[in-house]
């Protein structure tokens, strides 16, 4: 059983009103921002189900935008985020949708700019979140750990190369999950790490053949 932390219970310090609809939204935004890793020109937020229905009343829209702008869950600027200078520098829009195949609190972030990327996630309760897809690849990222996200061509030896590089730096891998479309086709990998990777290791991993995308996503601080 995963050991629960005291701070799951007596935190986070956050702006209200809802752990799942406000803090969760900010956290999903923060993770997506790190996964995209670039400055977007345009962001489309697609809110589903309960997020669509009660999102505005809970400030879910504000929270999502705050997150992608890098504003943390306890920042009181979230309340008036639409008036904020940072918000006016990016073109954004919200769509409110129903899709019962999706989680009740699901969202897609569609980033456009030098690269286009779609990041999807769910707010799974009590402020905990899960990034479920990057460009339609299934991933599993919660922000509890520093994580390494890779999208690559499935072939012999990729995993051992990546884990080898990480091991030489003395970083322990706490958990790992891989998915692939089919043998020899595109695959994704999420590694949860016990500490952060430095820039040079990430550059080394980027140089491995057949790896298309490498993102180091820092753990959520609150």
């Amino acid at each position: 059983m995963k050991q629960s932390s005291l701070f799951d219970i007596i935190s986070p310090i956050m702006v209200g009103p809802s752990s799942s609809h406000t803090a969760g939204a900010v956290r999903l935004g923060l993770l997506s921002r790190n996964i995209y890793g670039l400055t977007p020109k345009k962001i489309t937020f697609k809110l589903y189900n309960s997020y669509a229905l009660t999102g505005r009343g809970h400030g879910t829209d504000k929270g999502l935008l705050a997150g992608v702008l890098g504003i943390p869950v306890d920042d009181t600027r979230i309340k008036n985020i639409f008036d904020l200078h940072e918000a006016n520098e990016v073109n954004y829009q919200f769509e409110f949708l129903e899709d019962f195949n999706r989680h009740p609190n699901a969202v897609d972030f569609i980033f456009e700019g030098t690269q286009k990327m779609t990041v999807s996630g769910d707010s799974v309760g009590a402020g905990n979140v899960r990034i479920t897809n990057i460009n339609n690849f299934p991933v599993d990222l919660t922000g509890e750990y520093n994580s390494l996200v890779l999208i690559y061509k499935d072939r012999l030896g990729i995993l051992s190369k990546v884990s080898g590089i990480i091991q030489t730096e003395g970083v322990n891998i706490a958990a790992m999950n891989c998915e692939r479309i089919a043998k020899g086709e595109d695959a994704s990998m999420c590694m949860s790490l016990d500490c952060a990777l430095n820039y040079s290791i990430i550059e080394k991993i980027k140089r491995i053949d057949d790896i298309y995308l490498v993102r180091h996503v820092g753990k959520l601080e609150s």
Partner: protein, 294 residues
């Protein structure tokens, strides 16, 4: 010893074996888990405590409405009444009720609060903890001990049931918050570990079946007032437990009952706003108004 304490029974036996209080065991465990010093753990707890006090402070002097415009001025009303009428239960009651409204109203107007355990139940632990600490001149160290105790209680319950209205109804949010507050209060008032654990059971037993049926799906109706009621509820549990009144059903079994009740509760009554208060005639009118206005 860093083993996981997953039941109240284990908590009592470990406290007994090691001659330690709940907060001591849990601050040690947390230090190990986060790989930091105990003092750092306490500092993090202090950050939550300070944020709770700040929310109360700001909330007491605001009457700003929520985004939906449905709620936000009850704390002002209550304080106005108290200016001319001393409440029947005295000064402590006055403070707890006002602090609870101050906190939960800060939450709904997108102010800064501490989810404890959730945002919708954020006012119960702070209102009781801060009001009592002010009235009885409790040291900050003791307040931190009490807040760690509250966190320990929530984390043990969480081993069995997710603290989310969508999973187990409001029992698992405001109900668990009341149990945390009751236990914290026993800790502050010098009660034993056993009394603390019984306070948890007494608080939980008397909210079993509490549904989560918020009007228009928002953390407003009935959440705002419920926080005030359950803050007072937690004081009752602590007072009874301090008198050595025991829950005839052991605390772990009460948690099991809560868990089972949550499973049996219709999904329509678990944060989906499909039944109960949320579908009353007036709630439907409010919902229409809210959806049209925001």
């Amino acid at each position: 010893m860093k083993k996981n304490i997953s039941t109240f029974n284990e908590l009592l036996s470990t406290c007994g074996q090691q001659n330690k209080r709940t907060y001591e065991l849990f601050q040690e465990k947390e230090a190990f888990l986060l790989d930091i010093e105990i003092e750092k753990v306490r500092l993090k707890v202090k950050k939550s405590l300070d944020a709770m006090k700040e929310a109360i402070h700001i909330g007491l002097s605001s009457n700003e409405k929520s985004i939906s415009k449905q709620c936000g001025d009850d704390c002002e009303k209550l304080q106005k009444r108290y200016k001319s009428h001393e409440p029947l239960f005295g000064k402590l009651f006055k403070k707890i009720t006002a602090y609870a409204l101050a906190t939960i109203e800060e939450n709904l107007r997108m102010g800064k609060i501490v989810a404890c355990p959730t945002a919708g139940s954020c006012a119960i632990v702070p209102s009781v903890l801060v009001a009592i600490s002010e009235e009885l001149n409790i040291s900050e160290d003791e307040q931190i001990n009490a807040l760690i105790t509250a966190g320990a209680i929530g984390s043990i319950v969480q081993n069995k049931v997710a603290l989310a209205g969508a999973i187990a109804g409001c029992q698992a949010e405001c109900g668990v918050a009341a149990a945390m507050s009751a236990g914290a209060l026993v800790q502050i008032l010098g009660g034993s570990e056993k009394q603390m654990v019984h306070a948890v059971a007494l608080a939980l037993k008397n909210i079993l079946g509490l549904t989560c049926d918020p009007v228009a799906g928002l953390v407003e109706i009935p959440c705002v007032k419920r926080n005030v009621f359950l803050a007072i509820h937690s004081v009752t549990a602590a007072e009874l437990a301090l008198a050595d009144i025991e829950s005839k059903i052991p605390t772990d079994e009460v948690v099991d009952a809560l868990c089972q009740t949550g499973q049996l509760m219709s999904p329509m009554l678990k944060e989906s706003s499909q039944a109960g208060l949320a579908k009353t005639k007036t709630a439907l009118k409010i919902e229409q108004r809210v959806l049209n206005n925001i």
